[in-house]
Structures are given as structure tokens and as C-alpha cells.
Amino acid sequence: MIAGTALQALIRTQLPDADVGIVDRTGTMDHFNLTIRSRAFKGKTLLEQHRLVYGALEEALRDGRVHAVELKTIVAES
């Protein structure tokens, strides 16, 4: 389980400008739909964009704070 603010902070360790939309899919605060907007995605394939996010979440995924994530990444233009 992880609080939304902590999850957002984790993502911002890799993507400091990230705008993070969080949906708690199951009410248990460990299955999330995340919509992340960042300039860092610019010019990257979708796989690379998602790898950036997973890089930020790797520890939380390993220790179970986050169990499952459905990701949507959006390239922020400005």
C-alpha cells in the first residue's frame, strides 16, 4: 500500500516535471492506473517511456507497496 502523494514523489524522482494522474483501481491503494505527462517522454518510444516510469517504481514494486500498475504516458510539449 502506498499513499498517492508518496507515489507521486516516487515518480518525480525520475521525472521531476511529471504530472501524475492516479486511480486506485481496487480500493487497496496498491493496484493503480497511472496517467503520466512529462517532457522527458519526448522522442522516446512507448517502451522507453514506460521503462522510465518503472525505473522510478522498481523498489515499490519489489517490496509490494505497489502490486500492479496500468500505465498511460503522455508527452508534454511545453
Binding site: 512507448l46 517502451l47 514506460h50 521503462r51 518503472y54 517504481l57 522498481e58 514494486l61 519489489r62 500492479a68 500498475v69 496500468e70 500505465l71 498511460k72
Partner: protein
């Protein structure tokens, strides 16, 4: 050790044009995302394989290391890693996936599920 799994994984990836490493099997998926991935590929009509790695942490670690991707399911098409349905769904929307699948299966037209040609 992780490395003897690398050979096993490379062999499996080469053996199947569409390969899903997931939790559970095709008949008994044990994770929502694995089920979603099975249903996703069912909708395209091409043959695909699901390999259950739920209980095999060493193989899961080898896979994560090889693909730099921490979660399951992990999908390979024609030997290339494509992540999961978050990636494949977007590729399907843009039509890129249909081309990738046709290339993988030697340009055969997409087998529509309804018409089974018996030629």
C-alpha cells in the same frame, strides 16, 4: 543462477512468434493482466504461447534483467520484447501492431476468426 535461464528464455522466445510470460497458463491464468493479455491476443486470431513463470522467481529475475522491465506479463513478438498490453494496446490503436503481426507470420492476411478457409 540467472544465466542458465537466459538460454532457456532465448530458446523459448525463438520458438514462438508470439510469446507471453505470465502468471498462470492459458487455461488457468492467475493474474488479471495475464488474462487480459490472453484475451488481447485471442482477438487477433494468431497462434500464441503462454509460459507460466509465477512460481519460478529465478526465471522471473532473469527475464526482468534481460528486458529491463520489472513486471509480468512480458510479451515477445518475433523475438522482440514489447512490454505488455499497455504498449500493445497503443500499437493496436495506431495499426502498428497489425503490421508487426503480419510481418511475424510472413505477411499472411489476418486470420478472421469467423471464416475458416479450408483450402
Amino acid at each position: 543462477m540467472a544465466d542458465n535461464y537466459n538460454d532457456e528464455i532465448e530458446r523459448e522466445v525463438a520458438e514462438h512468434k508470439i510469446l507471453v510470460y505470465g502468471k498462470g497458463t492459458k487455461d488457468a491464468p492467475r493474474c488479471g493482466f495475464t488474462l487480459e493479455t490472453i484475451e488481447f491476443f485471442d482477438s487477433f486470431g494468431y497462434p500464441f504461447e503462454v509460459i507460466d513463470v509465477l512460481e519460478n522467481q529465478a526465471k522471473r529475475d532473469a527475464l526482468s534483467q534481460m528486458t529491463n522491465w520489472p513486471t509480468l506479463p512480458k510479451v515477445f513478438i518475433n523475438g522482440t520484447f514489447y512490454g505488455d498490453t499497455d504498449i500493445l494496446g497503443a500499437m493496436a490503436e495506431s495499426g502498428e501492431l497489425q503490421t508487426t503481426l503480419q510481418d511475424a507470420f510472413g505477411g499472411t492476411a489476418l486470420p478472421t476468426k469467423q471464416t475458416i478457409n479450408l483450402r
